[in-house]
């Protein structure tokens, strides 16, 4: 049986793109959504706000793709030519979309007098299917050129996301089905932190072969078994392992995915921290808030990055009390009570100093958990014994939270040494993520969850 896989082209338009002034995040965002829907993006093209070039790009796209998505050039100015070019290619006039005009008028209720330019951005090609734009003025529209759907979106990411959530996502799934691609896709994202892509892909080797049903393989007369694939995506500092199952029957695809799930978990333990869309930072902060645990940070080489990551989430003030950024040794003593003797004997980048920083922060901030980081982010400051990339992290916990485990080590739940010879920003990001990973592990222990990953992350306690 031949699958009529839908192949798409994404077209992004704008002088500012072609001058390299802005990084085009729209096309990758759209390509990821298409991929999620089982639509393959075959081409991505960008051109300037030039009538002839836009026309060439659109004509070329409908000639080689089954579906074309275009972003940009829907604004109010004379540089915005998408509606004009699409109308001309379709052989129709541009007309003002009445619902869009009514929404605009209702919104501003006479506060702003609508002028020519504002009307301009409410236009669509006559007869186009309009998908609306919950977050902006310019309507999203769809026309057919040479039998291929061309869908035009504005250039603002926020508006594109709103249009996609509103109607476009469902419409794309519909277009895919109409093309005869009735293959159903079940997928799951396994999120890994703490090991690199090569080790992870090594661990997953053979999973698919083992899992393929011998019965289905033996019976050549029966339906072909679901197709399974694994994709690895490095999203520094984490790695995403995407398991994808395709079958005409959604139930069969989902069942196979479920059957593979346990094997994947087993192979990825203890590096797997979650399954789904939520990353380690968001997960940890969400769990901190939900569990009503309080937290503080004691940062040296990360310089405030851990605090910044935690407080990026709305509502984090319910858990996060604050932090001490102790970039100098004197501040480690003053703010956190690290002993000068410890600094003299072991240095600022040492397990001993990290432990005293975490303990000092936990006591002074009066919190359940305090994490500390001290390291050498480079490019200077390394020595043969402590090269650039040497980082110590320690996690202190209140006796109430962890009980016997913490009190056995004078309040320190775990320490970890990193030795990662990367660039300064990567060392800082990696250190911050490890700090959050240790807090996440502490929440596992406190919540009575399977301690396999927690024990590995926390280095067995100290």
């Amino acid at each position: 049986m031949v699958r009529l896989a839908v192949r798409a082209e994404i077209l992004t338009i704008g002088d500012e793109l072609c001058r390299g002034e802005i990084i085009d995040t729209n096309r990758s965002w759209l390509a990821a959504r298409l991929w999620d829907l089982g639509i393959t993006t075959r081409w991505m093209t960008s051109c300037n706000d030039d009538e002839q070039d836009i026309a060439e790009a659109m004509s070329r796209a409908v000639a080689r793709a089954d579906l074309v998505i275009c972003s940009g050039g829907l604004g109010p100015t004379e540089d915005d030519l998408t509606v004009d070019v699409a109308s001309r290619l379709a052989g129709v006039d541009p007309v003002v979309d009445d619902p869009a005009r009514q929404r605009w008028e209702a919104r501003f209720q006479g506060l702003i007098q609508m002028n020519e330019l504002q009307l301009r951005q409410l236009r669509v090609p006559r007869g186009a299917r309009v998908h609306g734009n919950p977050a902006g003025a310019a309507p999203c529209f769809e026309i057919e050129l040479s039998g291929v759907p061309l869908i035009c979106l504005p250039g603002f990411p926020r508006e594109i996301h709103g249009i996609y959530e509103g109607a476009l996502g469902a419409r794309l799934a519909e277009l895919r089905a109409a093309r005869g691609d009735d293959e159903q896709i079940a997928r799951r994202i396994f999120r890994v932190f703490g090991r690199g892509e090569s080790q992870i892909s090594q661990a997953c080797r053979g999973l698919i072969d083992e899992a393929a049903s011998p019965l289905a393989r033996a019976s050549s007369a029966g339906p072909s078994p679901p197709r399974v694939s694994i994709h690895y995506q490095v999203k520094f500092p984490e790695v995403l392992v995407k398991l994808v199952v395709r079958d005409r029957d959604a139930g069969v695809a989902a069942a196979r995915l479920d059957a593979l799930h346990a094997g994947m978990r087993e192979r990825l333990a203890p590096f797997l921290y979650a399954v789904g869309d939520e990353n380690l930072i968001d997960r940890t902060v969400r769990r901190l808030i939900e569990s009503k645990r309080t937290v503080a940070t004691a940062e040296s080489c990360t310089g405030g990055m851990i605090g910044e990551l935690i407080t990026a989430m709305p509502g984090s003030s319910a858990s996060y009390r604050g932090g001490a950024i102790v970039y100098s040794n004197a501040e480690k003593v003053r703010q956190l009570g690290v002993a000068q003797d410890t600094l003299d004997r072991h240095g600022a980048v040492s397990e001993e100093t990290a432990i005293e920083m975490a303990r000092g922060a936990r006591e002074r901030f009066g919190v359940d958990l305090a994490v500390s980081v001290s390291g050498i982010a480079g490019p200077d400051g390394g020595t043969p014994e402590k090269p650039v990339g040497t980082v110590w992290i320690a996690l202190a916990a209140s006796p109430e939270m962890i009980g016997a485990r913490a009190t056995a080590h004078a309040g320190i739940l775990g320490t970890r040494k990193l030795a990662w010879p990367g660039a300064r920003d990567q060392i800082r990001i990696l250190s911050s993520w490890w700090s959050l990973a240790m807090i996440d592990a502490a929440l596992d222990l406190a919540g009575g969850e399977d301690p396999t990953r927690a024990n590995w992350v926390l280095g067995g306690g100290k």
Copy 2:
């Protein structure tokens, strides 16, 4: 006279691009470099690691552009097909580049046995011009297809930057001149922080017309005057104003640029903070280090972002002592000595609290300058009197640094209120940049520079 402007196409290759897994920063980086060289990027195309699609993309590109730059697909695996496709289109064999092989062997000195795959990534089309790759294995090469230069680069940004600095930048300028485009370009970037694009473009209106030489305009027999253009680029939270002058004579272009410079400065004052490539954060931290001033931070709603921005620069430990992240009111009292009475009477988000935070940080950290931020980043927590986006910033300075100005206001050099109803991350970024802008202003005052901008940024002192 007809200008033979060079029009380029940028081609980026990779399945991970078309699945939307990574954001393609290479093409914008390359487009910006081309734009700097006076080369217009007309098309940017991306495709999968598919032999036929790569061949189609390359053929199409050389048919419609004068110069093609391709990135990706030069690695060691069988998915990496750029060399094979380019060779086939040129009608030659792929061969291992001997200098690249020698560099590889010298680097690893027998430590790593070279295998088939490693040799694979050292290949180039036979007869290609090789530009080398200071930061990696795969050589950058250039061939002609249908008389159009096709330059192939690896996909790693670090390697692309190294190749560009090493030889490619000069080669592109050479190719442009060889095409007959001898127009010289003089340009300058005026960096603005504190006002939006619309106000800035309003301020610049008329600059070019006023500056055009009446003599050159009157004399139709003489050479045409240099062409001047202004481009605005919003790079949140700053705005870049790019002044570009083109002429066949480099001296004429440079002279016209210089003539326009003073007018531009005047129009952009006091929002202009610098001319050149260095942004406000890097500029401020560099000047802190150079002037041997010490600094500390007291952060509430920014949660560590200011510390993180300062410490992103290597060597910042010479100036930055540390910071207090005071996310709770109790921590504002404990770490910075803010009076409970001040919090009770004025609230955490108030000029009074920000002043006590800055003063407390300056004294406790024992530094020349301390900046404080307290605000409502949202999305919750706003009130009618203090809506989301309300932020107070205060800057405290040592008497030694600023003398009479600071002592007149009990150590406070300036305060500023922001009221910017944006998204949480934007409010935090904007607040952090304003904090650095105030430190930058303090360095202007301490250094005896023109105080116009400093006075505006610092709000006239408090």
